[in-house]
Amino acid sequence: MSTYKTLRIAGQLYRYVVLTVFAGLCIFPLLWIALTSLKPDVGEFNYDMSLNFTPTIVNFADVLTRDAYRYYLLNSAIIGVGVVMVTLPIGAMAGYAMARFRFRGKDNFFFFVLSTRMGPPVTIAVPLFLLMLGADLIDTKGGMVLVYVFMNLGLCIWMCRGFFEDMPRDVEEAAMLDGLDHWGVFLRIAIPLAIGGLVATAILVFLFTWNEYFFASILTQSDAKPFTVHLPSYFGNRRLRWGPLSAASLMGAIVPVTLAWIARRYLVEGFTFGTVRGRR
């Protein structure tokens, strides 16, 4: 075998080893949690690291029935669906306007929209807390939906704008000649054409809402508490039960990982405000 060929095989081997190690690191925490969640609950402040155990679902049963975790998961889901249902139509409208109309101040509006995602949440946390307190919206799902609609609107506008921009104008122009007004074109032509992108946007908005912790930790106590706020209570100073913690974490992780996989072609786009298009 020539030296060149040996070198090439060695290089390839090295590449796969590095990539596999990195992939292993990416997957390991979830894997470890999954393993721990299947171990019999050995009680507080105890943990047996060995892999020699009989798998059990007692932790899941425990978390879902005794701890009311299912209510918190349900809260997360309800809030997420609510946010999507409000954000998507509003964001799609604005995104369409950004893609298809010219008006003064468009650039500035666009950067303003971007800055709503860049700014630290903690800055508006105090006024929002006081606002919700005054409007009696603390610990309500409706109030949380409103806050998350704002938090995701910028992303939604940027993404929708990209999808509408990608569509050929001809169809819309022909429809206008046929007598449709702007709303008709938007509702009957643009939305059906961009539906794949809009679904991906909806999935990402749900994912970001599902994962949010900071605002929820300030604005909810029990009625509207999502699972992210309940989760740290498994790691309290008085309570340290690895099994239930892991089972609860795993259930909270499976939903977004599945959604991310479904929307994988659009995921990078969503995380980068539509500035980076992956391969479609």
């Binding site: 590449r15 796969y16 590095v18 990539l19 992939a23 990416c26 997957i27 925490p29 979830l30 470890w32 943990y47 509003i90 964001g91 409208m93 604005a94 306007a97 109309f101 008006f103 650039d107 303003f112 971007l114 800055s115 860049m118 700014g119 630290p120 949440p121 903690v122 800055t123 508006i124 946390a125 006024p127 606002l131 409103l146 609609v149 704002f150 609107l153 819309e172 122009e173 000649l177 994962n211 949010e212 912790y213 900071f214 740290p232 690895w242 892991s246 974490s249 990982v257 996989w261 994988r264 995921l267 990078v268 995380f271 980068t272 539509g274 500035t275 980076v276 298009r277 992956g278 391969r279």
Partner: protein, 308 residues
Amino acid sequence: MQLMSPARAAGSAIREGRGRLPPWLPFLVPSLVIFAVFAIYPVVDAAITSVCRYNLTEPDARRVFIGLANYRDMVIDPRFWGGLGRSFQFAIVSVTGSLLLGFYIAYLLNQTGYGKGLFRTVFLIPMSVSATITALAFKFMLNIEFGIINAALDKVLGIKVNFLGNPALALWSTAAIDIWQWTPLVVLILLAGLESLPVEVYEAAAIDGAGAWRMVRHVTLPLMKRFVLIAALIRTMDAFRVYETIQLTTAGGPGTLSETLNVYVAKRAFSFFEMGPASAMGLFLAFLIIFIATIFVRKSGAFQELVQ
């Protein structure tokens, strides 16, 4: 006179619109209302609170104007400066770490044919799991008694490390968790960039006899500038806002040794309920981040081609 084609005429109608109200306005009104209530109003309100004394733990708490006292206190508060410094340390380590590692992995992945899709799928996991779960999972794995990482260290090197409790390590451990969570995103962003590069460039450079490192340095990176800048911008913004990764692992401790400004502001507001100082520092943090972001955006042109 040149006649416009019907399609062009319709196109200009889409762009300019007719009638009294500009046609684009109704499309934007709902968004504008939401931004007014949830972005503009809070910032104005925070500005007002920042020049007031307003402590929610006091009975009949209300805002009392005290001028710039909150800002003066901020400037002489060592915990503010400490937090600001740690915010920068955290951001610099987390951003450079994830960019360097991310570029290397993307570079290797780009040369890979078989298994590329599988790797990409696995890389989706860290960024799509909630930071809450990530923080708790790492707190568990880094635990000195029950953590798998310490068990492994003990077995291989015979040492145990209190990653989250050691004053010299706590902040860097949280930064490492942040790197774990966001490097895969950098990989996917830069991979999109690498995939967009024309193959001819490499061929030409290879004919010129450029080695791998020189190729990366003088060909790949300059062509990838836009993608690197976008990754750097997004990572920097997020690094300054990191909350769960610190709050749920070290809670800023030991002492305040892993307390970033973001975490400190949240503590002042929602543990001590001192809304005045919290608002002053929160505004400072917002302006700082948006200032950095504006430099990125304006200088890099990363977003220019989107905003024609």
